[in-house]
């Protein structure tokens, strides 16, 4: 038996090799013209569902852009004040009916992909669903200032607000994707998270859902009858990859067409070296900071022995050369943020006053606060207690771990000893939410509104949630409230500047870096517009000229 097997084995091996060779060859397909083309996105992670109110996972949002329309969307300016910079989508036009009432007129051409007309009843249903605590939408809190949404007629939806403020229009359109009431009404809302609709959605966007293969890919196909114009690329595929290096390698090897964020300088270099890739830089929506816990480690009722002192925080901030850190760790990919903001926000201004890098001044402040090197060991101490603390950082972020080490070295120069606690992401979340830390390196993503991220992370309303260090400044909050309420963009900008300068002076954290987004896109794509808050928002306008189609673009299936 064995000898027979061994006699056959060369044939078996040859057979496998022949089959593998066959698989290695691409089959030529037949599609030609302007509307062919396939885009494969190397996505990290997989969305849990495609039902918009049930998730705010980035990939789900990217795919949601193609399937479910908003009433209108922000423009390339990312201006969130007023309504003049917004682009109509489902709403053909809108008007204000008094200071607190906004009326949307649905485009009569809009259809659900099962043929039903999109109506104002869908808008009313959508608002009700997003606000329903049973649905447990992460966007629920962002709609708190909208009192009601009703239908005036089948194509007219009326929004009524609780108060007047500059971002009324933004709140009305940005957070909600309109849902098909006729398909979802019969599903009990406590079952929405697991409803089959979330894995096989029917939308009204430029693309139709084709298939979802768990942990592998989601495929969409262009809706050639889309009422705002036929999408330029025929097929979109999100291919799920668990790690960034593999995702980047897929794009470099030509197995995927787009990786929207390369994240590290090494990846950017690899992409730049690939002749078939365009590297596109756009404004990032994330900033990273070292947050001080102003309350005692593990006891939020007591002040922190080191960081409750504003002067000590200021001194520690002055002891860090942020520009040097950005240059050495990120090169051109990062910038020193002028405050707690990403470059996406329209209030970004490098001229905002910040604490300078001045180790001599830092030393003088620490001396004045009693933190001196009394025993000559190179470390400052006070009442026998050394000036030492720990930095909490998630192991999943190589960049943040690297930053923790760089900060450790910088603090050592001003006589401060730092230990690093590199732990799993879930542990970081658990420890920060319970106040069980000294300092933590966190990254925060912004949506286009300065009023949403900054208020959550740096105001009293965020205690126990994203304001992990429990920073509270009545002056800062007063300025932010005024800035949010200011209808003039120029005056709002000035108020935001004052608010940011106030928080910079208080130094509740050291704002380390704001990462620019760098995308790698295959060179055969034209018109590759990227809106900074959502790279996939304008995907329907991307094109592949017929003479640049490759084999996989032409494949018919």
């Amino acid at each position: 038996m064995l000898s027979a097997m061994s006699r056959r084995s060369p044939f078996i091996i040859c057979g496998i090799l022949a089959v593998a060779t066959l698989a290695g060859c691409e089959r030529r397909g037949g599609c030609t013209g302007s509307f062919c083309g396939t885009l494969i996105n190397a996505a990290i992670g997989e969305p849990p569902t495609l039902l918009p109110p049930s998730t705010e996972v980035v990939v789900a949002n990217d795919i949601g852009e193609q399937l479910f329309l908003k009433l209108a969307d922000v423009g390339m300016s990312e201006n969130t004040i007023g309504d003049e910079d917004f682009q109509p989508l489902l709403a053909q036009h809108w008007e204000w009916d008094g200071p607190l009432t906004l009326v949307f007129h649905i485009d009569p051409r809009a259809r659900w992909q099962d043929g039903q007309r999109v109506s104002a009843a869908d808008v009313e249903f959508t608002f009700d669903a997003y606000k329903d605590s049973v649905v447990a939408s992460p966007f629920r809190a962002k709609l708190r200032r909208i009192a009601s949404v009703t239908q005036r007629d089948s194509l007219t939806a009326v929004f009524r607000f609780r108060e007047r403020y500059p971002e009324m229009f933004y709140d009305a359109v940005f957070h909600m994707r309109i849902l098909p009431a006729h398909l979802l009404r019969s599903i009990p809302r406590d079952q929405w998270r697991t409803a089959p609709f979330g894995r096989e959605p029917v939308g009204d966007g430029p693309y139709r859902f084709v298939r979802w293969q768990a942990a592998q890919a989601i495929e969409l196909v262009a809706d050639s009858t889309f009422f705002l114009g036929r999408p330029g690329i025929r097929r979109l595929i999100w291919r799920f990859t668990p790690t960034l290096p593999v995702a980047v390698t897929q794009v470099i090897a030509g197995e995927a067409d787009v990786r929207e964020q390369l994240v590290t300088p090494e990846n950017v270099e690899r992409a730049r070296a690939a002749p078939h890739l365009n590297v596109i830089t756009y404004r990032g929506n994330v900033y990273t900071y070292l947050g001080f816990n102003l309350r005692a480690n593990g006891d939020t009722s007591q002040p922190h022995p080191i960081f409750a002192d504003r002067d000590v925080r200021r001194a520690l901030s002055m002891g860090v050369d942020r520009a040097l850190l950005v240059k050495s760790a990120l090169g051109e990919l990062g910038k020193v943020p002028p405050g707690p903001m990403s470059e996406l926000l329209w209030i970004w201004d490098p001229n905002i006053r910040q604490l300078p890098y001045d180790t001599a001044q830092a030393g003088r402040i620490l001396n004045a606060r009693g933190w001196r090197d009394h025993d000559g060991d190179g470390l400052r101490d006070k009442n026998g207690q050394p000036l030492t603390f720990r930095i909490l950082v998630p192991t999943t972020s190589v960049l943040r771990v690297q930053y923790a080490q760089l900060l450790q070295a910088q603090f050592r120069k001003i006589g401060v000893q730092v230990e690093i606690d590199a732990v799993e992401g879930a542990v970081v979340t658990q420890r920060t939410s319970s106040g069980n830390f000294d300092t933590v390196i966190l990254s925060r993503g912004n949506d286009p509104s300065p009023g949403s991220g900054i208020t959550q992370t740096w105001m009293r309303g965020g205690f126990g949630r994203s304001n992990v260090g429990r920073y509270y400044s009545p002056e800062f909050e007063r300025l932010v409230d005024r800035a949010i309420a200011e209808p003039s963009r120029d005056r709002a900008r000035a108020l935001w500047r004052s608010a940011i300068e106030t928080i910079n002076a208080d130094a509740p954290g050291i704002f380390l870096y704001a990462l620019a987004n760098v995308a790698a896109v295959h060179t055969r794509f034209d018109n590759t517009q990227i809106r900074p808050d959502s790279w996939a928002a304008l995907l329907r306008t991307w094109r592949i000229p017929p003479d640049k189609l490759i084999d996989r673009d032409r494949v018919e299936r």
Partner: protein
Amino acid sequence: MMAWLVRRLVASLAIIFAVVTFVFILIHVAPGEPCAQIDVDVDPIVCDQLTRQFGFDKPLHVQYWRYLVALAHGNFGYSFSLHRPVRDALAGTIPFTLQLAGAALLLDLLLGLALGIYQAGRVNRLPDVILGNTTLFVYSLPTFWLALILLLVFAEQLRWFPVGGPNDPILCPVVDSLYCVADRLWHLVLPATTLGLVGAAGTARFQRAAMLDVANQDYVRTARAKGAPERRVVLRHQLRNALLSFITRFGLAFPFLLTGAVLIETIYAWPGMGRLAFNAILTRDYTLVTATALIASTVVVFGNLLADILMGVADPRLRVRAGADVEVVTA
């Protein structure tokens, strides 16, 4: 023999139960909770609602009892992170892990066996020395490192094989033709080779030692003295008696394959159970973690049981001993 088998089955079930209980408690007492993984800014009302909906607000023993009752009814529960029944998530991933582990096991055992036999026939000669050092080198390589190197060389540089995933997403989103079977095999080459090579290196060393153990036995010398061809001596007399070590190795391969699969599936974007378990741990998806532990422990325990049974089949002395034990126990 039957009583021994029943006893082993009961012991196996007890082990699986203990593993599931241990994992259930461990993941629940680990820092971090499912709701916090949604988003740091998640509305507390939303979090409370989800916590109640999934029963995470109940005491641990109540959750455990509910889990066991559901399990007894064949219900693995719902995955908090995937928004779908755990059963569906497992059903989608287990076939991929079986394909990967099966291919790796095949490579591990066949290549390891062949190398072990070849080396034993040339003991202390140049081929044996070279192969001995090579297998030692490969065996000592970290699997993830080997995976990254193979990926870099054969996928990114040479482009002989795909970077990751189980299929071509355009031509073969589902395996519905011979071409797509070939495509799946093509995608399987790098992950299975990574996992199988390290195992094969270990198997080769085991097998070489086992072959040498029996090389000087009387029956081998007798066969040679009778003038039997060398090929027949090696394959029929020497290898057959050295197979016990091979079967032991077969039993030991299961835990290695399953733990290795976690890394390999992550690096090669292979949509198997290892990757599912890894993500479930990161997101504190209690039901999914426990279910994957249940499946993994079942495979390992029954894999070892199968190895024990095969040992009995291969070696009649063990069957007799097992039977004698039964008589002693039942006396």
